[in-house]
Subunit: 287 residues, 2 copies
């Protein structure tokens, strides 16, 4: 059924206190959100696409939600079931001021740099991770940093910044010559030519007692997703395995940040987060 | 004004959607909670005393809240402004099963063991911490582990365990001969006699590559607050300064836990947490 036909059927039912739970990653469903909202539905979703819409469309969606007094809940957009958006929202609502948000926001990139110690070349590590199901089918989707950039944009908009995805500075780990075309296992042969460069970066970091991490940072109205060195004492350095970790430095949490850490992807924890949002919606609605 | 006179004045006002915000640490106010609830007030508080009442009184309070359909919000009971209770509640509400809760739940004990490296004797470190205002006026209130035990009890009751404070196993860091009487600076002279014992524990831990931490653990329906060795890779080992840290291992967060970390005490972050609770209450109430 096309979304539009579905919306029409819903609208005819004249529901109150109903919600669309969009568990897809589809743009076509997001394009139909205004119609769902006009059909009197709240929206609960792990789908990030609405929150990264171009500013004008995003603004119009928020205005429509306001006008129709509908709730839009998307806790799982960043960190899946981890309490990231709710924590950020509580900080802001209670009058705190966010000074910096730093995070390891990709489980795949977390795994790769927590594991990468030079004993296995970086390209081979990516190949192994793909075989273990820890990357997207096309690992360039992870290595490009685009997913981290999208999450940074969502966090930026949550703290009230008027930002679009083009304004997030992203350092892609995919060499420019390897970015186009469909993915084939041939990719790894070409990618291996960059192993030495990565090994050198690791060596330099280690010489300073640092670790390499792919970090998303939001600070002074600027967002960047880059591979960087972190001292061992850095709040983000303690993540292990494929954990996500996110540190909020605020006016009140200024000396040491408020940190949330744990598995930030996976069907079970995401489902739990979506279900928590549905339960929250129940609290918000009149009985 | 005595609580009872205050309650009577409140009851006469016939308020709806009003709340008592108890920012004291007083038992007398907690004793008056039933009267406040009967006067139609919700309760928001950082005061831990209600949640550690003997089981029979605790159960009666919860039953009264249910009967009068009043909310009781106490996010700041554990970790102050950190999202501890809300995270635990979301996990449970969405059908997850808590297998283990481990935490460094005392900012003072966190500071002491994060700082203690043997260069300054342990007793001297406690004396310095007291001068810096990092301990209670009587540092035995921190060293006894009783505050950690109370927080464990609150967490235990939150996950549905029928538990009383006597059932929490607590290892006090105050030698039994020094527990009675009023505090005087003389305490430190006596306490210094136990420095060698602590130094020995640190040495043994270090020889194994471990750190010493005062940890509260809730597992298999048992609660304990003890000084223990943690491997450097332990989820709790990454806390620094006087941070609190709490790790939830659940059916869904089983391979690596969900971790919340940050400053867990202080007037500003506690006030923020209380205010967040008040805002949550607004969401819960009919308009």
């Amino acid at each position: 059924m096309r979304p539009q036909a579905f919306v029409e059927a819903i609208a005819e039912m004249k529901l109150t206190n109903a919600a669309l739970v969009d568990c897809t990653a589809e743009q076509s469903i997001v394009d139909a959100y205004p119609a769902f909202i006009n059909a009197n539905l709240h929206i609960v979703t792990p789908n990030k696409r609405a929150n990264v819409l171009p500013w004008r469309r995003y603004e119009a969606l928020k205005a429509l939600l306001d006008r129709r007094q509908k709730h839009f809940l998307y806790e799982t957009n960043v960190g899946a079931g981890l309490p990231v958006m709710s924590t950020l929202r509580d900080l802001i609502a209670s009058g705190d001021e966010v000074l910096k948000i730093e995070g390891i926001l990709s489980g795949t990139l977390s795994y790769l740099f927590n594991t990468y110690d030079g004993s296995v070349p970086f390209g081979e590590l990516v190949r192994q991770a793909r075989e273990l199901g820890l990357t997207e089918p096309d690992p360039r989707d992870d290595l490009s940093g685009e997913d981290v950039a999208r999450k940074l944009l969502i966090l930026a908009r949550e703290i009230g910044l008027r930002m679009d995805i083009q304004q997030v500075r992203v350092h892609s780990l995919v060499p420019s010559t390897l970015r186009g075309g469909a993915f084939s296992p041939r990719f790894f042969r070409e990618f291996a030519r960059y192993d030495a460069e990565m090994a050198k970066r690791l060596e330099v970091a280690r010489a300073r007692g640092h670790v390499l991490r792919y970090v998303g940072t939001l600070e002074h109205n600027h967002a960047r997703a880059i591979l960087q060195e972190c001292p061992a004492t850095h709040p983000l350095a303690s993540a292990t395995g494929s954990d996500n970790i996110i540190a909020f430095t605020t006016k009140r949490y200024s000396r040491t940040p408020l940190v949330v850490q744990g598995p930030g992807a996976g069907a079970d924890v995401t489902a739990m987060g979506v279900f928590s949002d549905i339960l929250k919606l129940l609290h918000y609605l009149p009985e």
